[in-house]
Amino acid sequence: MSRRFRFYEKKRGDRRTGSKQFGNVGEALFFGFFLLVGCLALWAMGVFLIVPEWRANRHFVETTCVVLHKAVGQAGEPESQRYRPEIEIEYNVDGQTFRPTIYDATGMYSVSRASAEEALARFEVGKEYPCWYDPIDPGRAVLVQGYSGWLYLSLLVPASFIAISTRRLIYIWLNWGTSAERRSMMSRRAGELEFFEESRGKALANVPSDTNWTNSPGTHLAYRLPIATTPGWTLFALLAACLVWNGIVATFVVMAVRTHLVGEPDWLLTAFVVPFVVIGMMLIGFLVRQGLITAGVGATRLEISNHPLYPGGEYEVLISQAGRFQLTSLNVFLVCQERATYRQGTDTRTDTCTVYRECLYTVENVALEDHKPFDGRCRLVLPANAMHSFNSDHNEIGWKLVVRGSAANRPDYERDFPVLVHPPAVESPPE
């Protein structure tokens, strides 16, 4: 028997199987609590700090007082004491004498005893000073006026609580009982209001823009294709990973070696360090391999006769390989890959699957020379019923040309050159 109301069940990504309404209620309560906390804090700051300070500056009446006594007031636990100046004054209002112990309107304590003492030093017992009293309650007065900058800055804390909670509560309210289709339409309309949105007005939904492909003309054919990841960046990333990993591991290695040198070997530490050392050595191996590829294999350049590609279309491709080495084989593949991103718990994972792979070009045993790169040409025919490039938040379908080379006495290398495939042209594409 199926349950009518599911409180909590397994979920992966957005595929919730529990009650959506229960989730909405929980989320609304969570943010409602933070909204309440923010409002209470703002109210307390307003009533106890901001309004008194504002009234002391704007409404209090000036008079003259005599300082009777001064001391540093203390509050809090002995290990976390806080201080404020406390000054007993005497003044007369309409023939009535008042003797409050005051300083400023907020009466806040601070962690600095020195600043409290500094404030007290400006007043001498027995001397007269100006002070300001509250005409509504003449027993309340201040010795100093002015606005506390920190007070207005600290308003940001409750204000941010209120802003974040309110925004989320409005979102929950707008989506309460709203279908996925309506939400999608609302977000689409909101996107259309973004005046500087790059994709605005483009006819092909969820097909990446071809700007990066067509802004680099080729020397022999129409366009030079951009490379997915330059070998230099791969080398840099590997170098950084190698330094960080081996730097940390080296500390433990030194500790382990020392125990052996002093004749008190710590075998547990030694055994613990060994797998990390092995991984470090592998990283060094990858680094050396990548270094050989980067330094030994020159630039690979691909040019294409037209771009973007269309299903059923025929294109000419030029491959140019620079460097100074003996190429055992050089292949160019046309590849289509699906890429799916999903959340599993708190992790975000990505799976890829190759669904099309065709060898367009093969050449073997070519001797490359420094001054003259190897050039080859081939024909690319895209299948008539091929899927176009597609890109959404969690799913992607991408096409690329892959150059794979093997060289004598060097590791094999592979370089990717993404291409963009558009859907078959529509005579008057709808908006």
């Binding site: 992966r12 990504g13 957005d14 595929r15 009982g177 279908s179 996925a180 289709e181 309506r182 999608s184 339409m185 689409r188 006819a203 092909l204 939904a205 969820n206 097909v207 289509c336 699906e338 890429r339 799916a340 991103t341 999903y342 959340r343 799976d351 890829t352 699957c353 190759t354 669904v355 099309y356 792979r357 299948p383 019923n385 091929a386 899927m387 176009h388 597609f390 959404s392 938040d393 969690h394 799913n395 992607e396 379908i397 558009h422 859907p423 078959p424 042209a425 529509v426 005579e427 008057s428 594409p429 709808p430």
Partner: protein, 132 residues
Amino acid sequence: MSQPQVELELAGDRRQYQPGETLSGHYRLLGVTAREVRAVELSVLWYTEGTGDEDLAVHFFDRFEPATRAIEVCQPQYFGTQLPASPLSYAGQIVKIFWCVRARVFFTQGKDLMVELPIVLGAVAAAKEVEE
């Protein structure tokens, strides 16, 4: 008393469309009164299935609230839209793209009712996994 139903039909009973073609049809509510229906939504949309989290986008959307329109709730409601150039329907290995026409009825009381007609946009071949 009969159960509420939604009759959703596409013109010519078509299921296969090409980009740029017009998709049209109608829906009709059966076994309900205007008072019982809060709103009806008709969408033409695509969504993904497969390994990744679901993506969904609406191409055409119409919301009909009986209280705001002086028309009979059980009369056929006609709709039509020109289909876009992308994304095309696709049956991949870990990414699949489906198009459908979906009618969703929100009642003043009780669970929503949803009816869906799958359609195919374009003629892309199904994909198979290939060896690296």
